[in-house]
């Protein structure tokens, strides 16, 4: 497959929602170690909300993303909900009027997501956040010449690696920052969320 259309992106959001539900307890556990333990709950409710929101009625990709982002911001009452909102809004602006997303478009989308978050919150790679799994995955997509079915599993692998690397990092953002050195040694919950998004896309592609 060469590109996703709106209908497929909506299906992917269903996959993401399912994957977040499956990993709810795991995310809660991770967030409890250096946070307030709500990550699984907020991700699960945020993506579920999208599936029943007005976003699903939208007929343009850009509008779908904007509504989906705002819905997550409302329904996912925690920092990562807001970060996903900022990210998706940034991504939506970047794709402009495109109604199909190729591998390269997807790479640009995710890169725009990352840039929005960096711009609004001052975070960057290596600070034990969702960026650490999403950035390497986005980079893989940007450089890939392959079909979706090949490119995304590669991106997922990069996301997994980036996620694993957060174990050794010290948090500088969010509640985890208060734990300073004590935040080292655990995987970052947000980085897991980033990886899970790519996993959901791969799950969709292999169906």
């Amino acid at each position: 497959m060469k590109s996703f259309n709106l209908a497929q992106v909506k299906e992917i959001f269903k996959e993401i929602s399912r994957v977040m539900d499956e990993n709810k307890d795991y995310l809660v556990e991770l967030d409890s170690k250096a946070g307030d333990g709500d990550l699984g709950i907020s991700m699960s409710s945020g993506f579920r909300a999208v599936l029943v929101s007005e976003a699903m009625e939208e007929t343009s990709l850009k509008k779908f993303f904007m509504k989906a982002g705002m819905t997550i911001n409302e329904a996912s009452p925690s920092s990562l909900g807001t970060i996903l909102f900022i990210a998706i809004l940034g991504g939506a602006k970047a794709i402009g009027d495109k109604e199909e997303l190729t591998v390269k478009d997807s790479g640009e989308f995710f890169t725009a997501c990352v840039k929005a978050v960096m711009g609004k919150t001052g975070s960057k790679r290596g600070e034990k956040t969702i960026l650490d799994s999403v950035i390497p995955a986005a980079d893989v997509l940007l450089l890939s010449e392959d079909d979706l079915e090949v490119a995304f599993p590669n991106a997922l692998a990069a996301a997994e690696q980036g996620m694993q690397a957060t174990v050794k990092m010290q948090a500088v953002h969010g509640r985890a920052a208060y734990y300073a050195e004590k935040s080292i040694g655990n995987i970052d919950g947000g980085a897991v969320v980033g990886m899970l998004i790519f996993k959901a896309i791969c799950d969709y592609l292999s169906k």
């Binding site: 333990g37 709500d38 409302e74 925690s78 900022i86 609004k120 919150t121 208060y178």
Partner: protein
Amino acid sequence: MKKIINTPEAFSTETVEGILLAHPDRLKALNNDLQIVVRNDEVKKGKVSVVTGGGSGHLPVFLGYVGQGMLDGCAVGNVFASPSANKMYTMIKGCDNGAGVLCLYGNYGGDNMNFEMACELADMDDIKAAQIRVSDDVASAPLENKHKRRAVAGLVYAWKIAGAAADKMLPLEDVIAVTNHGLDNLRSMGVALTPCIVPMAGKPTFSIGEDEMEVGMGIHGEPGIEVRKKMTAKETVTVLLDKITADMPLKKNDEVAIMVNGLGGTPLEELYICYKEAYEYLNHIGVTVYKPYIGEFATSMEMAGMSLSVLKLDNTLKEMLDYKASTPFFTNENK
């Protein structure tokens, strides 16, 4: 979970419902949205608006300070969770009297990001929306990283000052200036003795040893500076004031306002015992206390513990403190 609630899901909204039913002459939900609480009494025309927002579970913080001489509106999140940018934006827009809006809120990641987005949206509507983040908790970062410190009970002094300045019809720049001046002279720190329980979680998300105290713990259970064996009231107050005065030196003849704030589960008796210790500590270094606030001003549901806030006074700040404030949860009539 020893709570008297209906369902964990309804905790925040039913709290707001109760508040609106109890104080209909003073508070209302903007557009009937229980996440946006604004004043229902008369607001001076052309006044700068002071607004805030933040998670539930800290009553009287946040919406409890909406009222005369304090806040004009508040966006209400779920327990310990930021309200969305959209709610904040709607609230800012609804509160603007044309003189600009000061968003005065606690320095927490989620709130920061959402207010950032909300002000951007307000800006597109040509509303002058300024932001000041309160970061009074000395335990949460060293002085050189003061902007990283989180907010605790000092928020109340921030709102008192900004609210008074706005009610005195000062323009936005001056409200901002006097508020920043107040924040420069404000420090807080607390101890926690027991965890609290987020209704949705149903059990404590952190624990504190039976004979231990968390010194510097945040109001959502963020770790503090150190875990210590239980201390007496005198030792506890000394640890807190040592840290606060190291950060903001006080000298003989200085005058301060202080707040002894209960986190929820600590009896008022203990807060007064702590006040006695704080009074004596300050008295010993020649510092006098002006109109202390003692009670529960910023809580973490049933968390046991206490925080001290110190506001170094000058004539301007004293004037702002003395200025009349009256909300359903706070009045300085008897302070």
